[in-house]
Structures are given as structure tokens and as C-alpha cells.
Symmetry: C2
Subunit: 357 residues, 2 copies
């Protein structure tokens, strides 16, 4: 934020008071002309700059580090409200969301693109905070933001700031992780407590009055994935349980692989503060979004080695085994409850927490 204390003025202009377009987003920032150029150079390139982005051409041209292997390609739109929440913001979310979607395919995340839809009137200081947060997250994840675009919508036609990111990663030969590859007998692991992100965003909206210190888990989890592939030979499924939470993610996997998944209720990690918030709100933490957690389905013989490997990583310290894969009932997720019963865990049906990512 420091660089905003001295408000930049247009080249050659004598400007005793800040101009509107140096303080907030105006429609001209989306014109594609000089104001767009100034915005891109002063705000985006100065912070996120790298050789590909600085070429200033219509697409970045890049060489893969190795010829053998495949590409992973993904995209996400981010419309979280509010833009800032305990533990993160829309910028960190946008970078981590896309990095994680690449990582769970076994890819080394390499390059990101970012397209911004700005609402007229957005304070440029807010944009700067988000861009700086993206820089930090991209650095942590080891990715470069190689292409971008900025559009401006009239006041009341957007909501502050939306970011769509896309990502390209490189998948080494031999790595095959997919929701289709869960096999009966496999162990189901999760890398840490569930629901932190969703509850942190909800609290940031105010009005809940929970006054807890829940912090979003938003983080890049490519390091967890690399640790798993180093420690194990039979990594079958990797996923990050975002919107819809763990329950929805496991239902997707159960369907893709035509297997059953049985969870052990007592093993599922949920922080007491998240549990309390969920009880108050009538929600189930199994359906609350996470943004820095890894679900891994791995041959049972390797489960212990996988847990040890995960626990040695940043963001993986809380890794635990939460269930197993069964042949039946195909396409279903079951929960063995603490009192010894079994219940069906369905996919999230409708809306629970809008604008959580």
C-alpha cells in the first residue's frame, strides 16, 4: 500500500489535487487506450511484472521446461464477497484456486492468466492491495502471471472486483490422478481441518457476531501434492474440496469412479470454533468450502507413508485418514456415525453460502 501514498499524476500534468482516475476506477480505465495502459503499467506490471507479461503483446509466448509430458489447463471465476476476509482476499483466492486445480491433476503449476472486471468507483488502493496479494501468492506457488486483461463495468453493474484466472501446468509422464481412479480398499485422507474458509468469509460479512478467530485456509497446496508423489506410488485421486465442501467432492469422486466411500465421523477434523459456528447457523461443516485443503485417495498400504509425508509439509500438518473406498454402494458416500450407525452423505443440494469464492 505504501506506493499509493504518493498519488501518481498523468505525464506532464500539474495536478494540485488528486484526479478522480488516480484514486478510483473510472470507465476510461476500460477504454483500451492511454488510461488502460497507465493502469496496466502502474498497477499490474509494476507489481506482477515478468518477461512474458512485459512483452506487451496479445499473448505470452513461452517454452515448456521439458518437452515430454502433458499440459493441465483450468480456469476459475472469483466473485467472493467481501473482497478481504481473515486469512486472505480475492487475489490470494484467485491464485491459489487455480494453482490447486492444476496441482490436484499432478501438474507442476507454471503459468497463470488473470482477467479483471472492475466496477466503476472501485478505490485503486483496493485494487493495489489485491494485486500485491496476488504477487505474494504467485511467488509462494512458484507461478508467473503471464497474461491479463482489464474491463470496467458501470457503477451498479458489477460488485467491486471480479477476477477470473486460468492456469497451465506441466504433468510429468506417469502421473495419473483423476476422480475416476478410486478403487475399493483405498484410504481417504484429508490434509487438515474442514470449513475454515467458508466460515471465515461468512464472519467477514459481519452480523454473525461469532467473534471467533477463524481464519481462511486459502493456500497453494502444490507442495502437498509433490510430497505425496515422492512418498507414494499409488496416488489415485487428488482433489481440493472447495464449493460444496468435502461431502460434494467425495460424491463427485464416488460417481466418477463408481465406488462407495465410507467416512468415519469421529476422524473428520473440524476446529471447535468452526463446529460451533456451523451449529449456530444450522450448517454441516462437510458442505462448507475449503481453499487450501487436499483430499487424497491412495492405496491403503501407502496411507501411513502418505500421512507422514503430508504432515511434514506446510499446510499439511493436520493430515488425517478419514475413511475408505468400498465397492458398494457405487456412487454413494456413507458416514459411520460416532454412535455406530450409518447415514447417507449426499451432495450439496442447493444454495448454502453464496459468493464464498
Amino acid at each position: 500500500m505504501k506506493r499509493d501514498e504518493a498519488i501518481p499524476v498523468m505525464e506532464g500534468a500539474v495536478c494540485p489535487v488528486p484526479l478522480a482516475h488516480d484514486v478510483t476506477v473510472v470507465m476510461g480505465h476500460g477504454s483500451g487506450g492511454r488510461m488502460t495502459h497507465d493502469l496496466v503499467q502502474r498497477r499490474f506490471q509494476r507489481v506482477l511484472g515478468n518477461p512474458a507479461l512485459e512483452q506487451g503483446d496479445d499473448a505470452a509466448v513461452l517454452r515448456l521446461p521439458q518437452a515430454a509430458g502433458r499440459l493441465a489447463i483450468t480456469t476459475d471465476a472469483h466473485i467472493v464477497a467481501p473482497l478481504f476476509f481473515p486469512g486472505g482476499d480475492i487475489g490470494r483466492l484467485a491464485v491459489c484456486g487455480t494453482v490447486n486445480d492444476l496441482a490436484v491433476m499432478g501438474a507442476h503449476p507454471l503459468w497463470l492468466t488473470a482477467s479483471f472486471i472492475l466496477e466503476e468507483g472501485l478505490p485503486l488502493a483496493t485494487l493495489d492491495r489485491v494485486i500485491e496479494s496476488m504477487r505474494v501468492a504467485a511467488e509462494e506457488a512458484g507461478v508467473a502471471i503471464v497474461a491479463g486483461d482489464t474491463k470496467v463495468a458501470e457503477r451498479g453493474k458489477a460488485d467491486g472486483l471480479f477476477i477470473s484466472t486460468a492456469g497451465v501446468g506441466w504433468v510429468p509422464e506417469g502421473r495419473e490422478a483423476s476422480g475416476r481412479l478410486a478403487r475399493p480398499g483405498d484410504a481417504v485422507l484429508v490434509s487438515g481441518p474442514l470449513g475454515d474458509h467458508g466460515i471465515a468469509v461468512l464472519e467477514a460479512r459481519g452480523g454473525l457476531g461469532l467473534a471467533s478467530d477463524i481464519v481462511s485456509d486459502v493456500a497453494p497446496i502444490h507442495g502437498l501434492v509433490e510430497a505425496l508423489f515422492e512418498a507414494c506410488r499409488q496416488v489415485h485421486v487428488l482433489r481440493d474440496p472447495t464449493r460444496g465442501g468435502l461431502a460434494t467432492t467425495l460424491n463427485e469422486i464416488a460417481r466418477q469412479s463408481s465406488v462407495g466411500i465410507e467416512l468415519d465421523e469421529s476422524a473428520i477434523p473440524v476446529r471447535p470454533a468452526v463446529q460451533s459456528a456451523c451449529e449456530l447457523l444450522g450448517m454441516d461443516p462437510l458442505y462448507v468450502a475449503n481453499e487450501g485443503r487436499l483430499v487424497a485417495i491412495i492405496a491403503a498400504a501407502e496411507a501411513e507413508a502418505a500421512l507422514q509425508a503430508l504432515r511434514r509439509t506446510r499446510y499439511g500438518e493436520g493430515a488425517v485418514r478419514i475413511g475408505r473406498v468400498l465397492a458398494d454402494p457405487a456412487g454413494r458416500v456413507l458416514m459411520r456415525t460416532a454412535i455406530g450407525g450409518t447415514r447417507l452423505v449426499d451432495m450439496l443440494a442447493g444454495e448454502m453460502l453464496p459468493r464464498i469464492c
Copy 2:
């Protein structure tokens, strides 16, 4: 649109009247749960389906057709208003915009991602029209939409439908086109009349009462690029003059290459209807957006061959030579006017036509 005549109902539901979520976008469509799945499967995958998209994993995993070469990567956000205009719509625009950004780097466009931000209340029939239009445009451009995402914002927090696309293309070895490579003596070509897109969108907003038949030029121009590379050995710069128009694009090139560019006013192609609309509105067609035009800067010795090659392509029939590259004044664009004078053609300064792409 035909497939919407029979309104689908939820599995197993008995539903004598259409449910709200089968007619319009509701918040639950962005939940990440069952309603999101239904939306993706029934609306997106059914129309855009391809093996990568249908895997249903967090990223598409793809193999490059050839190992040698580089990747081109780009992104664009699309917020055009209205969503439909003569000659196109936001879906065609989103596909062509990204295909063209890849093509002008000399890349074969291969794969696109698309992330959608939907406003609560958007008619699903509107979404279907846009998806179908994307299918047609992607087919024409020879690209597959391999990954996507959908988010839903509350009514009044977005404007119908925004689409961010990213693209990945493959650049054959030896192809080097960049805004930095214009050289004194080069010829400046443009593939057809200027300003059609911007004026078509403006007219679609109504109220202008021009009652002309101007149609957007929105189209994929990868075929023009391929024709140029077949016909010429010294293709230096390729660009599509979108937001900010030809004037802004040429100013960018003049700066990137540190050259001057001189245009011949009498050679610049503008349809009479576009010229009339611009005069009425006090606009200069040089600054109006195009979405299916190619600017090519090529060694003068190859200019005639390049024009002949372009004129044989679809969308390149109207190709003409409009100017030349000079050593001085570096970074500037000049116009030799019809009456024999010379004037400076600057970059677009502020806002002209908001939400044109």
C-alpha cells in the same frame, strides 16, 4: 434454442409447472452442489462437450500435438452490453477474441477455457443461446473449450452475463511475430473495413436511430494468419485492433518497436455507413473497436503477395495496404491526409465506447 422448448425437470420430480431454476439463473446454480452440476451437464457439457471437458476433473490434461515449439497463452474478460448485437453476441466475441490473440502471435489456437459470471435472474434460454454461439465459433476456429467454471452473483451485482476466456496455442518453431519487430520500410496492411464492431454494438443499444445495416466483424482470424505465413517469409507484426481501434494498436506497435508509422488517409477502409455513424456521433473510426480484423506489418517486398494471400481468405477479402513504417518519429503514428498534410494520430486518450467487448 429448440432444446429449451421442452423444459427439463429435476430427476424424479413431478413438475406440472416449470421450476424457477429451470427457467432463470438462481443463486443455487453457483453453489457448487447438485444444481451447479445439473447446470454444467445440461447446458454446458451437452453443447460444448469434448473428452477433456467430460472428464469432470479439476483441470483438463492434454497432450500437445507436437513436442517442438512454444506455447502462446492469453486471456480476455468480456462484458459487452447488450449481450446480442448484429453479427454476433458475447459468446462469439469471447471465443474469437481469445482465438485472435493467439493467432496474432503466430500460434495455432488449440484450447480455450471459459469462466462465466451469471447474474441471478438471467433467463437460462439466454445462456443457452450464448453457449450455442460459443460452440459454433469454437468449431469454426478449430478449438476445444476444455475447462470452465460458473459463478452466480446476486441480482444487481453483475449485468446478465460476463465471460472470461483464456486460450492456449502452439507456436511452430521459427515463427516470430511481435509488436517489437516492425522495421523501417515495412508495409502496413489491414484485412478489411474498420469500425464495424463498435458501431454495430452501439446501434444495438438503441436510441441512435441510424437504421443502418452495420454488422459486427467479429470472427476468428487464424485463417488469415496462416495464409500470411504460407505466402510470406518476413511477417514482422500481427495484431487485431480491438478496444482503442487501429489508432491505439498502431501507437502500441510504434512504441514497442521504436519506429514511426505513416498512414495514408485515402487508403484506410471504412464503410460509408460506419463513416456516417461516426460523423453523427463525433467519433473517429480509427478509434472504434474491431473484432475480426488483422493488422499486419510485413517487409515491403512481400506486401503484394501478402495482400493476395489475405484476399483469398474468408474475412480477408477487403485487405488493403494503408501505410508504411518509418525510422522517425520513433513511437509516433502520423497520417498523410487526403489534402496532402500530415497530422499526429495519438492513442485513444480516455473513454469512448464503454462495454464494447
